[in-house]
C-alpha cells in the first residue's frame, strides 16, 4: 500500500484574498479535509467533493492522529487551520503525534506545513503597523499551561516594553484570564496605550476596534478576537479624512541615529 500525504494548511484569517496559492492548491487536491467545523466551512466547495471530517475545537491530538492515520492509508489529507497553522494552531499537534508514534505506522507519510497569514498580521494591517517594532504573541489559554506561567510572561514582556498580541484571549471556560492580563499590562503601561481588537478578520462581520488600555472593556472581546496592546511608543491618530491609524514607530527613544 502506498502512503499518502498530509499538509497542515493555514487558510489565513478568513478572506480568500489572504489565502496563499500553496494553501489553495493543497485544498484542491485533497481527498480528505480534517478540521474544526467552522474552519472547514471556510473552504470553498468543489467537484469532486473531498470528504470532510469535522472535529470539536478541543480535540487536537485526536484530530491529528485521525489525519495521520488517513494519510498512512494512502489518502491526500489536509488538516485545515485558520491563520498560520504554526501559531497556536494545528501544526504542533500533528508534529507531536508524529514524534509520539515510534512504531513506524506513519513511515512514508509525507507531512508538510503550509504557512499562512496569522491573525495578528491581519489585525495590524487593518489599522496600520502596530507590530512594526519588537513584539510577542502570547496565548491566554491555561488549558495546557499553568496560569502562573502566563502571568510571568506577561510581567516580563510588559516590563520589556514589547507590543503584545494576545491569542485565545478568553472563552466560556476561561472568563477571567483576560481581565487579569489587562491588569498586569496596566501596571506597566499608560492608560492611553493604544489597543486594537480584531475579530473575524477577512470574514463576513469583521470588526476592528481601536481603544486604549484604560478604556478596554473585556466584554468587547471573545474567543475569535485577537487583542494587540501597544508598547510605550505605539501611537494612534486620525488622518485628515477621519480614518484611524495605529503604529509603533521604527525608532525607540535613545537611539543614536
Amino acid at each position: 500500500m502506498t502512503s499518502g500525504r498530509l499538509a497542515v494548511v493555514g487558510l489565513g484569517p478568513g478572506a480568500e484574498a489572504w489565502r496563499t496559492p500553496e494553501a489553495s492548491a493543497r485544498l484542491v487536491h485533497a481527498t480528505d479535509l480534517v478540521g474544526y467545523g467552522p474552519y472547514l466551512a471556510l473552504v470553498p466547495a468543489r467537484t469532486p467533493a473531498p470528504a470532510r471530517h469535522a472535529f470539536d475545537n478541543r480535540e487536537e491530538a485526536t484530530r491529528a492522529q485521525f489525519a495521520l492515520d488517513l494519510a498512512a492509508a494512502g489518502r491526500d489529507v489536509v488538516v485545515v487551520s485558520s491563520g498560520d497553522p504554526g501559531i497556536f494552531a494545528m501544526a504542533t499537534a500533528v508534529v507531536e503525534e508524529l514524534h509520539r508514534a515510534d512504531d513506524g505506522r506513519y513511515r512514508g507519510v509525507e507531512v508538510s506545513i503550509v504557512p499562512g497569514v496569522t491573525a495578528a498580521s491581519a489585525a495590524a494591517a487593518r489599522v496600520g503597523a502596530p507590530l512594526g517594532h519588537d513584539f510577542c504573541c502570547l496565548s491566554l489559554s491555561d488549558v495546557l499551561k499553568p496560569w502562573a506561567v502566563v502571568e510571568k510572561r506577561l510581567e516580563a514582556v510588559a516590563g520589556a516594553d514589547l507590543v503584545v498580541a494576545l491569542y485565545n484571549p478568553l472563552s466560556r471556560h476561561r472568563p477571567w484570564q483576560l481581565g487579569r492580563a489587562v491588569e498586569i499590562l496596566r501596571g506597566h503601561r499608560s492608560a492611553r496605550t493604544p489597543v486594537v481588537l480584531g475579530r473575524d478578520l477577512g470574514r463576513a462581520g469583521e470588526t476592528v476596534q481601536i481603544t486604549t488600555l484604560g478604556d478596554l472593556d473585556v466584554a468587547d472581546v471573545d474567543m475569535r478576537t485577537v487583542v494587540i496592546v501597544g508598547s510605550s511608543t505605539t501611537r494612534a491618530f486620525e488622518d485628515e479624512l477621519g480614518h484611524p491609524w495605529v503604529y509603533t514607530p521604527r525608532a525607540y527613544p535613545g537611539a543614536l541615529s
Copy 2:
C-alpha cells in the same frame, strides 16, 4: 487632480506560492512599484510594465515619502516589502510619514496595508512548528533603538522562556550583535536548545539549517537569515525517513490537564 492610492504589500517570503491573491492583485494594477531593489526583482514582469523605483535598503523614510507623493499625484502605487509589511518592514515607515504630514498634502490618498506571510512563519513551517507556543519577534538592529534596549528585551524574554525569532540578526555594519544575543540566551537556556536558521525562504538557494544553541555558529548567519531559538520545551527529532523536525509542544510543564 484626483488622488491615487498606495498599498504597502507583503510579497511573503520569496515564493509566489506564498503570495496572497490580494498582494498579487495590487501588483497587477499598480502604475508604480517602490521598493528595495532585490524585493522589486521578486515581482514578475507584466505588460504594461509599471514604473519601478528602486531604493537603498536604509532609505525607508525617503522611500515612504516618495511613494506617498506619487500617490498624491494620482498614481496607483505599491510599496513592495518582503514577508509581512507590518513586521520590521515598510508599513511603519509609510504610516509614520502619513502622521508627520500635517499640511494636508496626502489628503484623499487611499492608503492600505496588505498583510503577508512573515519569514518566521515560513522558517517554522519548513521544520514543523517551533512557534507553536508563546513566542516573540525581536529585531537585533540597533540602528534605530539603543542596544541596551535590545539586551533588556533579550534578558526578559529569555527569562520568561519564550521562543525567540530574531530578525535582522546581523549585517556588515552590525557584526557583533548576534554573538552578544546568543551569549544572553545561552545564559538562560540549555546548550541543547534547538535553533533554526532560515535563509532566502521560498527563493532559489533557500537553506534551512537546524542546530542547537550550543553549536550555533554566528558565521552561518547573515542579514537574510531569520533565527529561531527554541524555549526550554522545544524539541528536535528525525522521523523514520531521516527528515528533521522541530516543534514546541502545546503543553507546558505543570499544566493541570
